[in-house]
């Protein structure tokens, strides 16, 4: 129930109300949230495809990762900031939205997928860094990430209909 109280508080707050009722703030924040997809999920997609061994096979996985990382993190910083502001302005609608709950669950699952990857196959990366097709564990992490992110985008799109 703490969660419900928290959502109610956000929903009623001055900032939440201001974003919700502004004819410009909400569309601008949402627009930035959608555009940052290119940098965040765009870079995740190519990283996943490299892990699956289908793209940029001539480049070591570590090189792709190091080169993408700062930009990907910039993209995700924008995603989480704008996403939290959008949530702030519609906290109660989000609380009652099944799509939003599934979206959060998928976000947590994709974070777990990344943690599992880093604790397992990633540790032995020096053995497969330059492999054209990485080992099964890495390919699986790539596939799982791809499917989860497709789900996150789909749920994000569906939840907007309930607002």
């Amino acid at each position: 129930m703490y969660l419900l109280e928290f959502c109610k508080m956000l929903d009623k707050s001055a900032i939440g109300t201001a974003i919700r009722e502004s004819s410009l703030l909400f569309p601008v924040i949402e627009g930035v949230h959608v555009l940052a997809l290119a940098l965040s999920v765009g870079l995740i997609l190519i990283t996943d495809l490299r892990l699956m061994g289908v793209v940029m096979r001539k480049r070591p996985v570590s090189e792709v990762w190091e080169q993408f990382f700062p930009w990907m993190m910039t993209g995700f910083a924008v995603m989480f900031t704008t996403g939290f502001l959008l949530f702030w302005s519609h906290a109660m609608a989000a609380y009652n939205s099944t799509a939003f709950r599934v979206k959060l669950l998928l976000l947590i699952l994709s974070a777990l997928n990344a943690v599992v990857y880093h604790l397992t196959v990633y540790r032995k990366m020096d053995r497969w860094d330059t492999a054209l097709v990485p080992p099964a564990g890495a390919r699986t992490a790539g596939w799982v990430s791809l499917i989860f992110w497709a789900g996150i985008i789909t749920m994000g799109r569906i939840m907007a209909y309930t607002f």
Binding site: P27, E30, G31, V34, L35, L37, A38, L39, V41, G42, L43, L45, I46, L49, V55, M56, K58, R59, E63, Q67, F68, W71, A150, I153, T154, R157, I158, Y161
Partner: protein
């Protein structure tokens, strides 16, 4: 503009229009596919632009990166254009009086022309001083035009 209005009206008399408007899950599905296309098209374009600006994947030749990512850019474009065309048919008459829609079409025509007439040629050139100079123009041009398409597209539903 008056001469194209009958086309917009005709769109809403087609069987396609009826199918999309009679099934409430079709339009959201098209929007989701449109977003998947955005991730592919804009994601790979942003990577190439960052490479052209010299701030990412500097060790990899531009032409090699372009060869690797080209089919994903093209797939993204195909997804966006087909889902976009279907959404257009479903909302044709509303689009006609929507300023953002026309701004988006102008940006889209400019972005596509720039992509095929300039961007694709620059990214396929072998690295040289020429690529570096043209690369900056190609990168900024593509970023401004594609994000113009995306932003004006987003405002179709909000600003009208």
């Amino acid at each position: 503009m008056a001469s194209v209005f009958p086309f917009f009206e005709w769109c809403e008399k087609t069987a396609l229009f009826r199918v999309i408007s009679n099934h409430e899950s079709v339009f959201p599905a098209l929007e989701t596919i449109h977003l998947f296309g955005l991730v592919l098209l804009l994601g790979t374009t942003v990577i190439l632009c960052l490479r052209l600006l010299g701030v990412m994947m500097a060790k990899q030749p531009v032409a090699e990166l372009a060869g690797e990512l080209g089919k994903y850019t093209t797939s993204g474009m195909a997804l966006m254009l087909s889902s976009g065309a279907l959404m257009f048919v479903a909302t044709a008459v509303r689009n006609y009086s929507n300023t953002s829609f026309w701004v988006k079409m102008v940006f889209l025509a400019a972005a596509l022309t720039f992509h095929f007439a300039y961007f694709r040629k620059v990214i396929r050139m072998q690295d040289s001083g020429m690529v570096q100079r043209r690369g900056k123009v190609a990168a900024w041009g593509a970023l401004i035009l594609w994000f113009g398409v995306a932003l004006s597209g987003r405002s179709i539903g909000f600003l009208g």
